[in-house]
């Protein structure tokens, strides 16, 4: 069976959708982080696929930038989560809801 570029693009779109959906329905902060990572890595897959298809190295270079950004984002995000969890252990995203209206 011939696996063409569109397969990879569809797979990336599905992973992205799983990540986006997971972020909306899951309530554990750490799982929500993983969903964000899933979305970013789905985009990386898209970049690499296009890079190969267009025969342009630029897309693969971009992936490195995205990886660095994702790492920085997770560092900050974990810091925020730890700051919240230290006060109230076992918290879920639903419990963080003092601000509304």
């Amino acid at each position: 069976m011939d696996v063409g570029a569109s397969w990879y693009l569809v797979l990336a779109a599905m992973i992205f959708a799983i990540g986006a959906l997971g972020l909306m329905v899951r309530r554990n902060p750490l799982v929500m982080f993983m969903c964000i990572e899933l979305m970013l890595n789905a985009v990386n897959l898209t970049f690499v696929t296009f890079s190969r298809e267009l025969n342009d190295i630029g897309g693969q270079v971009i992936v490195f930038f995205v990886l660095v950004v994702a790492a920085a984002e997770v560092t900050v995000g974990l810091g925020i989560i730890v700051a919240i969890l230290r006060r109230r252990p076992g918290i879920t995203a639903d419990d963080v809801s003092a601000l509304k209206g």
Binding site: A20, E53, G77, I80
Partner: protein
């Protein structure tokens, strides 16, 4: 091997073009170094003064670039291997963002001491966020745009949670982080699809490709547009991507809110203007209806939901959403007139909103919690000066003539009418009428109701020096430019973005 390495060409770095950026990053590094190396407690306000100096230096070096890029014999150019575009637009937004960071730093000075959080960290975060905003404003490449957006956002996630002891500040940081990262992923996916459709992330190459080729896969590009709009829509807090705004603006430390509402919003609009209005100008029939829809929703929802709020910070958050709707009207027009009206709006709004949240910083008192509209009762008799200044900001936001707020709205609506977007102009005017009610509600609370018992117990509000200077500057700009706008409007006219890959 060594010969090969030597043969590799490195991009020419145009230091003069990067001077504003280097000033902000340099200021942040100086702050970190000085505070680490010295054990003695620095003199009061030293951190804020360094921050303001860095911002002033950024403005000064930007003005030097302005002379060069508006000189017809030289004109705009691209720096760092075509990654950054140096034109009047870059200079104008550099000034807007640097003004935002300088005024926010002045508000921070006393705020941090009052809340027992004094230290260089928040200033460093604000300077780095501003540097990220600058990168967004000058980005000539979608990936550079993404990197700028992330440096802006990551610094602001931390800044939003800076008041560690307040649960609402931590909550704001968490919500901002989750939704910010979510929107960045959408933006990045949009970039990936545009890359797939056009074969490049460089805006000049994308624009050239689209003007010379007929797309085989138009759907890819259109999906890319939609995702880019979602990503940037989050950042400018356009409805329906606005849900984070009220929570984050309310929970974040008030000076940080001032920065987010001014500089961060300006950077996001810069990206919207350069990517859509300039690069995808030829495809405007595809994206104009989308932005028009966003603008209508943003104008209406922002104004209507602001009315029902009882917390002034939250109310101003919704009102900032409705202001974003006005700027989107200017973006939607997709003409030079529309862009310059949006730029004028961003500059005017920066002073207005920093002033507004500056008053909220002072009235918030220790603990940064007294933001209910009842806390403003009787302010007119207790602190007449502060109440007068706040009234100026509120009336200017409502669009009362002789203020910059009126002119900003006038230019945007004028641009929409010129482009025959009559419906949008009408919606914008109706939204202005509706939101006038909420600004007047605060004014009425200040002048026409008796102060509560709690306010008396607190004694007289002190207006610290830093906040006083920031408020005075903001009021001066609002009134002076409101009366004689020609010069600033002329600058905004000449600050329309240009696509160029001409090396400097």
């Amino acid at each position: 091997m060594i010969a090969q390495v030597q043969a590799m060409s490195t991009p020419d770095v145009a230091w003069s073009a990067l001077a504003p950026l280097l000033a902000l990053v340099g200021g942040a590094l100086v702050l970190l170094l000085v505070s680490t190396l010295t054990t003695a407690k620095p003199p009061r306000g030293a951190y804020a003064i360094i921050t303001v100096l860095a911002a002033v230096f950024a403005i000064g070096s930007a003005m030097a670039i302005w002379d060069r890029v508006t000189d017809p014999s030289q004109g705009p150019y691209a720096a760092v291997a075509g990654a950054l575009s140096i034109d009047g637009f870059t200079v104008f937004l550099t000034i807007v963002i640097a003004v935002g960071v300088a005024l926010a730093a002045m508000l921070c000075d006393d705020y941090l001491r009052r809340e027992g959080l004094d230290g260089p960290e928040l200033y460093v975060l604000l300077l780095l966020a501003a540097a990220g905003g600058l990168v967004m404003a000058m980005a000539n490449d979608l990936i550079v745009l993404f990197l700028g957006l992330e440096s802006l956002s990551i610094a602001l996630y931390v800044a939003a949670g800076f008041h560690r002891r307040r649960a609402s500040s931590r909550e704001a940081a968490m919500k901002y982080f989750v939704l910010g990262a979510f929107s960045s992923a959408f933006l990045l996916y949009g970039i990936a699809l545009v890359y797939g459709a056009t074969g490049s992330t460089n805006l000049v190459k994308i624009s050239a490709f689209l003007s010379h080729n007929v797309l085989e896969r138009e759907g890819l590009l259109l999906a890319g547009f939609a995702l880019l709009l979602v990503g940037l829509g989050f950042k400018v807090s356009a409805v329906p991507f606005h849900v984070w705004t009220p929570d984050v603006y309310q929970g974040a430390p008030t000076p940080v809110t001032a920065f987010m509402a001014s500089a961060s919003k300006a950077a996001a609009f810069a990206a919207l203007l350069r990517v859509f209005v300039t690069t995808f100008y030829a495809q405007r029939v595809d994206w104009q209806p989308l932005i028009a829809g966003l603008a209508v929703a943003t104008l209406v929802v922002g104004a209507v939901l602001a009315i029902v709020q009882s917390d002034v910070k939250r109310m101003m958050a919704y009102s900032s959403i409705s202001h974003a709707g006005f700027i989107l009207v200017g973006v939607q027009v997709a003409s030079a007139r529309g862009t310059s009206s949006a730029l004028f709006y961003l500059l005017a709004y920066t002073f207005l909103i920093v002033g507004t949240f500056g008053v909220a910083t002072v009235v918030g008192r220790r603990g940064d919690a007294a933001h209910a509209i009842t806390d403003y009762r009787g302010l007119g008799s207790r602190r007449p000066g502060l109440a007068l200044v706040f009234t100026v900001f509120l009336l200017a936001q409502a669009g009362v003539p002789l203020t910059t707020g009126f002119l900003a709205k006038f230019y945007v609506i004028n641009a929409a009418v010129e482009a025959r977007s009559y419906w949008l102009a009408i919606v914008a005017m109706l939204s202005a009428v509706v939101s006038a009610f909420l600004y007047l509600r605060v004014v009425v609370a200040m002048y026409m109701s008796e102060p509560g018992a709690a306010a008396d117990a607190d004694g007289r509000l002190q207006i610290p020096a830093g906040a006083g200077i920031a408020l005075a500057l903001a009021v001066a700009f609002t009134l002076v430019v409101g009366v004689v706008p020609d010069r600033v409007a002329h600058w905004a006219d000449r600050a329309v973005p240009v696509l160029t890959d001409k090396a400097g």
